[in-house]
Amino acid sequence: MQPFNYQKARQAENAVALVAPDAEASYLAGGTSLIDLMKLNVQTPRELVDINPLPLSKIEMQSNNLRIGAMARNSDVAYDAIIQKRYPVLSEALLSGASPQLRNMATVGGNLLQRTRCYYFRDTSMPCNKRVPGSGCAAIEGYNRIHAILGGSDRCIATHPSDMAVAMVALDAVVQTRGPNGERSIPLVDFHLVPGETPERETVLQHGELIVAVDLPASPNAARSHYLKVRDRASYAFAMVSVAAALDIQNGIIRSARIALGGVGTKPWRAYDAEKALLNKPANQAAFQAAANTAVAGAKPQKYNGFKVELAKRTIVKALTTVGGMA
């Protein structure tokens, strides 16, 4: 691991002031993504600003939304009583991710900014446009079983690995930031970027901009929601395909639907077309199947991940069936 300077920040302003002017400085939250990649020399910050002392770990109701502090641990969010009751999809997504040990360290802000698990990105001896712009993409011609079928480009097909973000995208979450140029509210669905020509640019965040919280709007439908994750082993593995689904059903008719996908997209993937396909339809298998087909209509599978198209469809149908059956 490259050596670095270390300091603790006590206040958000102070943290921003330390990181913003220094291109080689980085925030350190739970460290479970950053330190992992520092050990592999994939990330080599020269200055670490530890934001663990910042008073940003509260989960609290505000007038119109639930505010989750950026430093709230994944385990605390997952087991929070309000979240379990009103946003079960988020609790389930978090509990399906990583292990209890990791969830005790991982933070909300860090989870949104965790890097891809693409093995070519993690291996510095391989070309990767995300890690070294212009070096090429080893995954497109390589073993791409875990890679994206939605949102890829000829530069990059790495998936975004977060489970939490998929649930939050379905819940219309809004990211609150504080940066050298003031505060911003960014809808999570616009926060992550598809790779396009610049896969190294993964989010709209500017250098030094600090995530301070994520807001979940009050939503009457969110209680009827579910996260379904399909993976290579029963637990403690990243998603092959995952689905966050929420339905508002009145008298058997779908009045609103939220669907987001993980494991298949280059960013947490909101399936707007599939949601539209469900509107005002009876909540039955035919409608769910039609929505599933719509969700993967634009899929571009690679040599080894073609199975994800069918897997995604079936996972969507199963998730919607579960939500449809919820009281």
Binding site: P3, F4, N5, E24, G31, R46, S99, M105, A234, S235
Partner: protein, 207 residues
């Protein structure tokens, strides 16, 4: 009893020798550090300097002179000489390094020691009260929940935290909530049984 005493004596000797080797390698390391010069004007001190880091481990304060990049696991094993916590993958994928920080289980391999100067750290060495094993340790012995034992310190720390967290109600829950601890010997059924014993309050059965 005799056996126990001898074991403890051996443990002390091992500890002394680890500390001795640690100290000498530590001296080497500090001498060998050539601080890398950096040109960025932001720089306040040169990178790679060691810093004084005080850790509270199993109720004892340890003052270390270490670089910020020393993980908590390496600090415990290489500098403090507590080699109970094991290094398996070094990337939070196996759970062998699990320790408790303020009562919560974490992977000590993916966190820097310097991040935990204000915390109470508990390792496998800190669970027993003198000669009395912690109920979870006793349950592991009673249930034969280990084979080579490499994963065991992490499994036990993790299981202690699992019980405190209070979310496990069934064997399936135990399996799910112990899934961050991999056992290459496959002692899983007995590990589940040991954790279940403690959860159900059958601690005595275990001793």
């Amino acid at each position: 009893m005799k056996f126990r005493l001898r074991r403890r004596r051996l443990g002390q000797l091992m500890l002394v020798s680890t500390v001795a080797t640690t100290l000498s390698s530590f001296a080497e390391k500090t001498v060998a550090q050539t601080p890398i010069k950096r040109t960025t004007p932001m720089l306040k001190s040169s990178i790679s300097e060691t810093m004084k880091v005080t850790l509270q481990v199993n109720g004892t304060k340890h003052s270390l002179q270490i670089e910020p990049r020393v993980t908590l696991l390496d600090a415990l094993r290489e500098y403090i000489g507590l080699t109970g916590s094991k290094k398996g993958c070094d990337h939070a994928q196996c759970g062998a390094c699990t320790v408790l920080v303020d009562g919560q289980r974490i992977n000590s391999c993916l966190t820097f020691a310097i991040m935990h100067t204000d915390a109470a750290i508990t390792t496998i060495e800190g669970l027993a009260q003198g000669d009395n094993l912690h109920p979870m340790q006793a349950a592991f012995v009673a249930r034969d929940a280990f084979q080579c034992g490499y994963c065991t310190p992490g499994q036990i720390c993790s299981a202690v935290s699992l019980v405190n967290e209070g979310h496990a109600k069934s064997d399936d829950d135990i399996r799910e909530l112990m899934s961050g601890n991999i056992c290459r010997c496959g002692a899983y059924p007995n590990i589940v049984a040991a954790v279940r014993d403690v959860l159900e309050g059958k601690k005595d059965a275990a001793v």
